[in-house]
Point group: C2
Chain length 622, copies 2
């Protein structure tokens, strides 16, 4: 199916070819499929056919030429280019255009085509007809052809139509590239948009040394980045390159010769390169742009399989081991009196991965330790009990208790915890550690010792429409954990304030106050106008001295997968002009045994409402 998301179904259909109406559709489809293409893009009606409203006969070819599954799986329709429902001062053409556009769209839906391509975004009258069609022809997508590299900013006309059609997920953009491409920054804006396909004309290809058609470097880079986002490719135009001799790779297959085959070979090569790269992160694929509610490990007990997944993150636990190792060396300088064991407490031990990391650190540092493992989840206690019996005899004291209530029998030198969420403090690490600081010796060490959250405004059509699909306020006021994929970071923070949001230190001030507030100002990066769908959040944690864990793009810890970023949606997406300032206000509030964030985003004439007042939609239970 041309529309199916490639990464979801595993069945790679990525490349179509544009054909003329006049051709024999049955034969052309067959030849295109044999050549390797997955679908054809074909006019619905002969381009020279203009019928009046009362034309009695058949206005196009018969549906019986292909089966229903061929129509829906292998054909994308394009509407007639003469249609112009916004023709100025030509009432007859306007009304004829309206009728013809409706007729063609209804015919396409009758054929169960998965998508129909329009030659351009058009004006307000076409937008009205498309918006009506999106609401009535609910099985079919509408794709709008947008030409890149022209004098106008093509993004603008797409954006006007998209807002007019209320961000419908079935309205997609098909980008047609020319011989010249716009700037990289201009192209980057499309990565957060609902782009369905890239049309590549044969005249955009150059010839390589061996005489085969290839794309220029810039085209190649853009196409590769779009293929990675699941976008499809459509080849258009007559063949212009004649490679020397037969195609070697198919010599044995005796395929019927198709002059478009060298183009398909090249596009297929780009696609396969991307597929091979994607196979290196198989675990990640299923989570791309998928909204997850953040864990509430304080309120809910984690399941066995959740522990199992997190325990596989070797990078994270190696980094913890390194931090504990450094702290042990600092705490007990070499040559100290023997027998003075360092008291190390793991608070929130889970099934014990940090306990194991601490024991490994102690062995490596050649320091004696007295270990305590504190855990509140009775199911994890079952695992820890078995590990104490079988792996850690005499080395670890097991404490089935909530760290906020436990009365420790001796104070700790080093307190180790892994309570961080995607936004640092969002799983209530500050509140839990405040409760545990009672039994840290004065001058003792907390690992982590501090952590900071960060925010960036982003374009992300996919995530915003997924939130909007719930049709309620709650989901717009809930932050979601998500592996951002089809998105674009649209603004850099002002130099002075950066994008840091909230910082917590342990041990911290006494008495503790974990409420926070911040105002950030971002300046939209060039070039051109773009759209903001909300905020992407990250954290950077200092475990000990220069040992950090970070999911912030600029300081990312490589190969760590325990945390995806967090998405703060906003109710109303807004247009951001180049150079305009985006103001973000955020608060961390507490009360009534819960903690929550409130946020608002403003830009120019749009003043954002404060989301999630009183934690009415989302809060983390204490």
């Amino acid at each position: 199916m041309p529309l199916g998301s490639r990464t979801d179904c595993g069945d790679a259909r990525f490349c179509g070819v544009e054909v003329a109406f006049a051709c024999d559709i049955v034969d052309t489809l067959q030849r295109s499929l044999l050549c390797g293409f997955d679908f054809v893009l074909a006019p619905l009606v002969h381009p020279r056919f203009r019928r009046g409203p009362d034309y009695p006969g058949a206005f196009t070819r018969s549906d019986l030429l292909l089966t229903a599954s061929q129509w829906s799986g292998q054909v994308v329709g394009s509407t007639s280019p003469w249609i112009n429902p916004d023709a100025p001062q030509d009432t007859a053409l306007r009304s004829q255009s309206e009728a013809a556009l409706r007729q063609e769209l209804h015919w396409a839906a009758h054929l169960s085509l998965q998508a129909c391509i329009l030659p351009g975004a058009g004006g307000p009258n076409q937008a009205r007809i498309l918006n009506q069609a999106l609401l009535t022809l609910t099985g079919m997508a509408l794709w709008v052809r947008v030409r890149l590299g022209g004098p106008e900013d093509a993004w603008e006309e797409w954006n006007t139509l998209r807002f007019a059609c209320a961000h419908s997920t079935r309205l997609g953009a098909v980008l047609e590239v020319g011989a010249q491409l716009p700037s990289e920054a201009s192209l980057a804006r499309w990565s957060g948009e609902n782009v369905k396909a890239i049309v590549v004309p044969t005249h955009a290809f150059t010839t390589n040394k061996r005489g085969y058609p290839v794309l220029p470097k810039k085209h190649q880079a853009f196409l590769t980045s779009m293929l990675k986002l699941g976008v499809q490719v459509v080849l258009r135009g007559a063949p212009r390159h004649t490679p020397p001799g037969g195609d070697e790779s198919d010599a044995g297959l005796k395929l019927p010769s198709n002059p478009l085959r060298p183009y398909w070979e090249y596009l297929s090569f780009l696609f396969r390169k991307g597929e091979i790269a994607a196979e290196q992160q198989p675990a990640e694929l299923a989570y791309r742009d998928f909204l997850q509610s953040p864990l509430q490990p304080l309120q809910d007990n984690l399941e066995s399989q959740t522990y199992e997944v997190f325990e596989r993150d070797a990078t994270k636990y190696n980094t913890y081991e390194e931090a504990v190792y450094c702290a042990l060396l600092d705490r007990v300088p070499a040559g100290s009196e023997e027998g003075t064991a360092t008291v190390v407490m793991v608070v929130g031990a889970g099934r014990g991965p940090i306990v194991a990391a601490c024991l490994a650190a102690a062995q490596r540092a050649k320091r004696a330790v007295r270990m305590y493992a504190v855990e509140k989840n009775p199911n994890a206690i079952v695992t820890l009990s078995h590990r104490v019996e079988t792996e850690w005899q005499g080395k670890v004291t097991l404490v089935p208790a909530d760290m906020r209530e436990w009365q420790a029998s001796e104070p700790a030198d080093i307190l180790v915890s892994e309570l961080l969420g995607s936004f640092g403090d969002n799983e209530l690490s500050p509140e839990c550690l405040d409760g545990a600081m009672r039994f840290l010796k004065p001058g003792g060490i907390s690992i982590p010792s501090s952590y900071t959250s960060f925010l960036h405004p982003v374009t992300t059509h996919k995530l915003w429409t997924d939130v909007a699909a719930y049709r309620d306020t709650e989901h717009f006021e809930t932050p979601f954990v998500v592996k951002f994929h089809r998105f674009h970071t649209l603004a850099e923070p002002q130099a002075r304030c950066l994008s840091a949001v909230f910082t917590f230190e342990h041990p911290g001030q006494q008495p503790p106050d974990n409420r926070r507030s911040i105002s950030l100002v971002f300046k939209a990066a060039p070039p051109g106008t773009t759209v903001c769908h909300g905020l992407a959040g990250y954290f950077d944690a200092k475990l000990y001295k220069d040992v950090h864990l970070s999911i912030r793009p600029s300081t990312l810890t490589p190969k760590m997968f325990s945390w995806f970023p967090i998405y703060f949606p906003i109710k109303e997406p807004f247009v951001v002009s180049q150079g305009s300032e985006i103001r973000v206000d955020m608060w961390r509030c507490d009360g009534n045994h819960k903690v929550w964030y409130e946020w608002s985003v403003s830009c120019g004439a749009l003043r954002g409402a404060i989301h999630n007042p009183n934690g009415r939609s989302y809060a983390v239970g204490l």
Copy 2:
């Protein structure tokens, strides 16, 4: 996965085996999988282990013995048999039981088990704990073991628990059969219930002539019927049959010998027989127990692929051809004056299958006809135009019009239509044909000449809970087209009134009045008590004289697939005692350009509300 519906995923997992706690779970699971079983049913906690509320250590084996995907995919847990939260006059046991049951259920959820089996339905206190667990442990199903063939009616205890837990879809029954089975009628009641597995003890097997374990005929029939519904099987007990020599079929595979293998072989044989039978209706599988909104062909235009599916129903069009053939012979007796062509009009011609059937009938009857094809869908007109040009030159006059408005140029001898829905008149055949009768000659023939709808009360947990999942009134007041699969017809109509609902004849009375009302009384069939989830509806149409089309079970037209039955839900399921009377009232109403049904169902103390007043939730547009 033990829970997955087999027919959905195509991956056949059907058979588990019950094992003891004392065994080595890793080794036992491995041996069971090698023997062919798909999962094991294992106690969560050692049956002799009774802990107090403050027991500090591990209360069961470690979760690390198996991976999370093994726990969730290959193990179903069973709770401890000593647990009795309803123990009379033993407060200590009651409270110890409550704590232990909660602990075991939470442990099972921690392991991400897909299901947990309880030894019995228990009393109201256990029901309360299970109901709470169903609402909090939302990833896990609870299955209750129900013993068939005992002195008590096992269905009763299941039913009480099911109502207490508000018909939760995650509460299932696991039926344990003994050496003796209850009556066939008693067993049949389970086919509409949420049965997840059948436990078959080794002592229920007998030995065949060759010395292999087999089930008695009655067991075999019951198991086959349940396998067909997607129910799984669990083998329990020690091996009691020793077949002579090695198992021939595996001689070459050198499988480790497992004394349960002959039982698995036998169960696997029953399962494969069922799979082979199911493969004969592949198209039907995806629609089993799947709610579809009825078509509104008058208001909406059908899509090309909908026509394509219906046109494949050869039985239906052959029957139409036969009816037209008989009517032509009657209308123009052999030897009539040559040249008097019979005027045949197909009203609602679609893409022309009935037109083709009429032309074939005329050729076979050797009668001259003048054919008109009347169709309102402009997209179907495209197809018809092409067929007139290429197949039917000069034989068919095409009329793009609504039959209710068309001014015919001459009157018809025979008027053929296919406007029937699953409930006969529910796609407004009466209203459409009333409009077309204007151009039928006096004494002319309508095909169909009459049709009647029928209703039966049914048990259908699956459909009712699917409707309830919408959490609104609208869906309870909407009839759905559905291929009934897991259901049980629970009452026979009273002899005098039968189960006929509404009848329409064409030509009918003048002026036409298509409003109807009826009261039906059904007497619950023996044996025992059962539950009613709504009504199943069917139709029987007389095309011409004794040529019928019927989807009514007792007069079913074989091999016809154009219509599935219709399901009228009711808001409140109710218990039906043996011999009690079920009263069904139904109305067909019209007004404001729409037609709708209203219905109510009463039984004993339960007086049903009238569903769908004024067609507020569901109506068919004129």
